[in-house]
Amino acid sequence: MIISLNAEKLGCTRGERTLFSALNFRVQAGQALAVEGANGAGKTSLLRLIAGFLAPAAGRIVVKTDGRENDDAEERGKSVGWLGHQDGLKPQLTVAEQLDFYACLYGHSADGSVLEQVGLARQADLPCRYLSAGQRRRLALARLLVSKRPLWLLDEPFAALDTSGQALVAHLMARHCGNGGIIIAATHEPLGLGNESLKL
Amino acid sequence: MQFLFRYANPHQFMRLSGAVLPYTVLATILCLSAALYLGFTAPPDYQQGRTVLILFIHVPAASLAMGIYGAIAVCSLLSLVWRHPLADIAARTAAPLGALFTALGLITGALWGKPMWGTYWVWDARLTSFLLLLFIYLGYMALWNAIEDDTRAGRAAAILALVGAVNIPIIKFSVNWWNTLHQGESIVSGALAPVFLAPLLLMLLGYGLLFATLWMVRIRTVIMERRARTLMQAGEA
């Protein structure tokens, strides 16, 4: 259970360019943060920084759990549920196999009910190569759910989804925050969660 | 360790190397000339005749080839663990020099081998290890060239260099083992007459100074290139 995530004087450089510097923000349990900005402003880089893939050029990110404060990147990564641009789906695996893989990889048992929640129950035995773009995103959402991680980092969560898909995302996000999770999302569209927003 | 970081600043390095360079150039020329002179004026070895001269172009080149890889391994460690800013540049610029000395070692080994063994190439333990070392250098340089981002290329090359450093003793051991398996005793003859020791060591010193000189020049070139690039990007030039 993460109580809060604090970014203190965070700076990021890619190559020779400084994307942002002296960035401060704080997100608490049950809250969401929308990261906005033009393309190339550093939204994805910020998410990768929080996930622990990138090391910050300056500053640090402090995660507060019960009684402990920690700024270690790898440990933070173990709390992250990641939804990036790419889907992480193998064309040769079926939907069910793909989801079970991620469930077991993240240390949980396979859970078939998740497919129903994202509307893919009937496609369980379909190889992933036959999924549409919207279905792929739904499967990625299912993967997010089975990982059972408190900190969701979402890169353009509404992309490639039709209206019902977008409603699904909004519903899942609201439920996650309602359960005390944290969401940080890079997005061009409003999240609709009564959240703060950060402009890069 | 602190000492190494005092000259980590490119500025400091440029100043220091600029001051030292004329002396190393002079010392290199002196050493190499002295070594060659002593070598050519020494009496011909009764066993190998004049061709023993190749030996003291060959042996120091071979030693330096190994030594340069060691230097690259140290730079790689400095780059990965201590994030020394010049370490990447130092490692990258040393590699072609190392490859050159290795190639020199191989060629002179072959030239020495023809009168000795009757053929240009035999698969003896030392030459074979050297051939593998040449490939290791080429792989290292290829990795640097293949990855576009300089920082990442440096880190990747550093990992490769350290893996190679661990592996090279194993390779030498296995090649020696292979040699005794297939050819019995080692072919390379043993002792060198003392009169040749002085030119050999001088040659080694000369090569070392040559390497140090060329290395510093190359590092300076890279630093100046980067400055020029920064200026051009800022629109000055």
Binding site: D87, L93, L105 | L138, A156, I159
Partner: protein
């Protein structure tokens, strides 16, 4: 299933479902074994003498074929990030991939080798040595190969550099493996005579499998910080 086993099973499954798994490596192995006699002539005595070396080199090259995709596939479709964030440490991830590669490539090659040894007129004890040497040595090929694969995973044409990087590092395996076969062939003691060589090979393989996950994990971290 534990995270380690899950990743292992997935990678084997993927290898089996894309292009018939070991079929490519096995075909390559057999083809090289066929080409060599065409190149050096059908003198059975000569062939039996070169069998150890030829089959070892052919096995190494065949194992190389699928190495460049070891991490690249997951890197390109975003799976690698997800795997890196899982509870499984990256070093164990690398080990799982090495094990999967061996099970789907090195082991099948080893199993085919006695048949190919037949083509080279290799006598029984030497064939047994060849089999054992490949069994012990091919894990080293997968392990060292994983280092090269992780270093080149971001390169589009990394497949060309990969052999250049790892083949020199695999020289000890070829030397000890083929050397073991040669000792069995020449020595009066049959397979026992090759004992020393097989021990050296085992030491090399053990060291490689133990240490290369660390190098591979470091390279993966490096490439994820893109």
């Amino acid at each position: 299933m534990s995270p380690f086993a899950t990743l292992l099973v997935r990678d084997i499954r993927l290898a089996a479902r894309s292009g018939g798994g070991a079929a490519l490596a096995l075909s390559f192995f057999a083809l090289v074994a066929t080409l060599v006699p065409l190149g050096v002539g059908a003198d059975l005595h000569l062939l039996s003498r070169v069998a150890g070396g030829v089959l070892w080199v052919a096995a190494v090259l065949a194992a190389l074929l699928s190495l460049d995709r070891l991490f690249q596939g997951d890197f390109e479709d975003g799976s690698l990030e997800l795997i890196a964030l899982s509870p499984l440490p990256l070093e164990l991830t690398a080990l799982a991939k090495i094990a999967a590669h061996w099970l789907s490539t090195g082991l099948p090659l080893t199993l085919l080798s006695p048949l190919l040894a037949l083509l080279f007129n290799l006598p029984g004890p030497a064939t047994a040595t060849l089999f054992v040497s490949l069994l012990i040595g091919t894990p080293a090929v997968s392990a060292v190969g994983a280092i090269g694969a992780s270093l080149t995973l971001s390169l589009k044409r990394g497949g060309l550099i990969l052999p250049l990087i790892i083949l020199p590092l695999l020289a000890p395996a070829v030397i000890f493996g083929a050397g073991a076969v040669a000792l069995t062939l020449d020595g009066p003691m049959g397979i026992e005579g090759a004992g020393g060589a097989l021990e050296l090979l085992a030491a090399f393989a053990f060291g490689a499998v133990l240490l290369s996950p660390f190098a591979a994990a470091a390279s993966v971290r490096l490439n994820l910080s893109n």
